[in-house]
């Protein structure tokens, strides 16, 4: 089982992104589970998402404390102690950022950092900062945990073809840094 924690802010589409991964996983014959954790429900406040993917049924219904993968939709969240907390040894951080890796101050356990400028991609294609679909493309390209074509189809069906393009563009532009 892979445990993934998503970090974003209200209005960035964290919950929808997490649900789409579950859908693509289940359609591909895997088990998936997404639990959103809301704080106060308003735009801009930190939002967490807990995502699990597995070859066997997922029984636990709890938060993710020791993620294999962190998916961070807003790099201003890295100053919060919650964001990098508990990352497994050799774990992966996939982050929407324009920053250089050394400026991300990732924890020493980190195995791989994957950077992508999903904000610019979404602003160019959608006219606003809605990085969730671009980040899904980056996530799938970096991890291979769900089938890319299936995910792109689900994105197109749910959010339209421009969002599919955003995901494809992000998938093609990820930068992988092995630490």
């Amino acid at each position: 089982m892979k445990e993934i924690r998503l970090h974003g802010r209200g209005g960035l589409g964290v919950v929808k992104a997490s649900q789409l991964v579950v859908r693509a996983a289940v359609e591909g014959g895997l088990y998936g589970q997404s639990i959103p954790a809301f704080g106060v429900e308003r735009k801009g406040s930190p939002v967490f998402g807990y995502l699990r993917l597995s070859h066997t049924p997922i029984r636990r219904r709890m938060q993710v404390y020791t993620p294999d993968i962190l998916l961070i939709l807003d790099d201003s969240l890295i100053t919060s102690p919650d964001t990098y907390a508990g990352l497994k040894d050799g774990g992966m951080i996939i982050i929407n950022t324009k920053k250089a890796v050394e400026d991300l101050h990732v924890p020493k356990e980190t195995g791989t950092v994957v950077t992508v400028d999903a904000t610019t991609i979404s602003e160019e294609l959608l006219g606003r900062n809605m990085p969730n679909t671009a980040m899904l493309g980056a996530f799938t390209a970096a991890t291979g945990l769900v089938d890319m074509e299936r995910l792109l189809q689900d994105i197109a069906q749910t959010f339209g073809t421009i969002n599919r393009t955003a995901a494809e563009k992000a998938a093609a532009s990820i930068q992988i840094h092995r630490l």
Partner: protein, 393 residues
């Protein structure tokens, strides 16, 4: 005969309710239930569901509206949480004691104060004496299956008691996973014909006064009948679960579910969604050489006391994990009731109440493993220990 979809617990509840062909749905939105009735309203609007959807001004009105509809012979549905249930209480009690059967989804939520909108089971636990049947679901699939089973149980002529299908707010209501939605034809075949099971009490051609002032001696007979029907429900719910299993390939164990219990020394007694996490904890403890097992309480009303007493007989230690408080006994309500279930045979085990997960707090795998460790260490010292709080500090 069913299709696999990916849904939140609330959307799955709405899909199941729609499959039961309700005539009338009345509801008022409240977190974390709102998306149940939003999805149903959408289905009515786009013509997928032939039902009357009444958007009322509060939960008191929601229950009152469906009460009238049920008296008119309709199959009805609503959903609520916490403060909504509290506001609904007056017609909620009247509904069950009128014995006009229905199913209501309850996305359980902590009660205010302090102000909160997050998960907890205090709302459901606070209304255990309102005459309704309460079933608590662990998974999204179980939410779907118990709403369908719920109508069958509620409308059974031996029962005719309302069913609350309860599931954790957020941890289940907003959790997304794969779920099988049965075919309409299969649900139609499983449920009774409402023309028979929900005969109209009110008929314009034969006017009558419903629920007139009733003196104590007759009222007591009604209560006695209600209690006897509740007792009968303990048997009927097991029958329905077994028959559901035959038709749909899934059954849940009736009043309780047992997990790796037969040779267990130390036992977790759980309820609703935390049970999935606790089953993982049991497996980990077994790998460490601890003989752990689990009992999941599915029905709190009627309380499956005999089955719980039988399941715990001879066990060395147990803890009941509650996501709510029993103020009068200063412990968890299910721990108090499990002790009552064991009273006749006597309690010879080490045992204690565990309380956690209030106000949206998580109940983690590590916390449950901690409970198992205490049980394992204390299993040879019988007696009740102080409440174990899953505080986060």
């Amino acid at each position: 005969m069913s299709k696999q979809v990916v849904l939140t617990g609330n959307y799955a509840a709405a899909e199941a309710a729609a499959l039961c062909r309700p005539d009338v749905i009345a509801a008022y939105p409240i977190t974390p239930q709102s998306s149940v009735v939003e999805r149903l309203a959408g289905k009515v609007y786009n013509g997928e569901l032939d039902a009357e959807m009444i958007q009322v001004e509060c939960e008191h009105s929601a229950m009152s509206a469906v009460q009238g509809a049920a008296a008119g012979g309709g199959r009805v549905f609503t959903a609520t949480s916490a403060q909504g249930l509290a506001l609904m209480y007056e017609p909620y009690f009247r509904m069950s004691t009128l014995r006009l059967p229905m199913v209501m989804a309850l996305a359980t939520r902590e009660m205010t104060s302090p102000e909160t909108v997050w998960s907890g089971q205090q709302d459901a636990m606070s209304v255990r004496e309102a005459g309704w049947i309460q079933v608590f679901c662990e998974s999204t699939q179980e939410i779907v299956d118990m709403i369908i089973q719920g109508y069958r149980l509620a409308e059974d002529s031996r029962v005719r008691i309302h069913v609350n299908v309860c599931y954790d707010g957020f941890y289940s209501s907003h959790l997304t996973e794969g779920v099988l939605i049965p075919d309409q034809a299969a649900v139609d075949a499983f449920l009774p014909d409402p023309a028979q099971s929900m005969k109209a009490v009110l008929d314009p051609d034969h006017p009558l006064s419903l629920d007139p002032l009733t003196a104590g001696p007759l009222l007591m007979k009604y209560r006695k009948n209600h209690l006897e029907a509740m007792e009968q429900a303990l048997t009927v719910l097991e029958e329905i679960d077994a028959e559901f299993g035959k038709q749909f390939g899934r059954s849940y164990g009736g009043g309780i579910e047992k997990y790796r219990l037969d040779d267990a020394d130390v036992v977790l007694v759980t309820i609703a969604g935390m049970s999935g996490t606790a089953k993982d904890a049991v497996d980990i403890a077994r790998d460490r050489g601890i003989k752990a097992g689990l009992i999941r309480i599915r029905f709190t009303r009627p309380f499956p006391a005999a089955r719980i007493a039988d399941a715990l007989a001879g066990k060395k230690a147990f803890s009941v994990i509650d996501r709510s408080c029993c103020f009068g006994w200063s412990q968890g309500p299910m721990h108090m009731e499990v002790k009552a279930a064991l009273a006749d045979q006597g309690i010879h085990a080490c045992h204690f109440s565990t309380i956690g997960g209030l106000g949206g707090a998580d109940i983690s795998l590590d916390e449950i493993l901690g409970v198992i460790d205490i049980l394992e260490k204390g299993k040879n010292q019988p007696g009740e220990r102080p409440v174990h709080w899953l505080l986060k500090d």
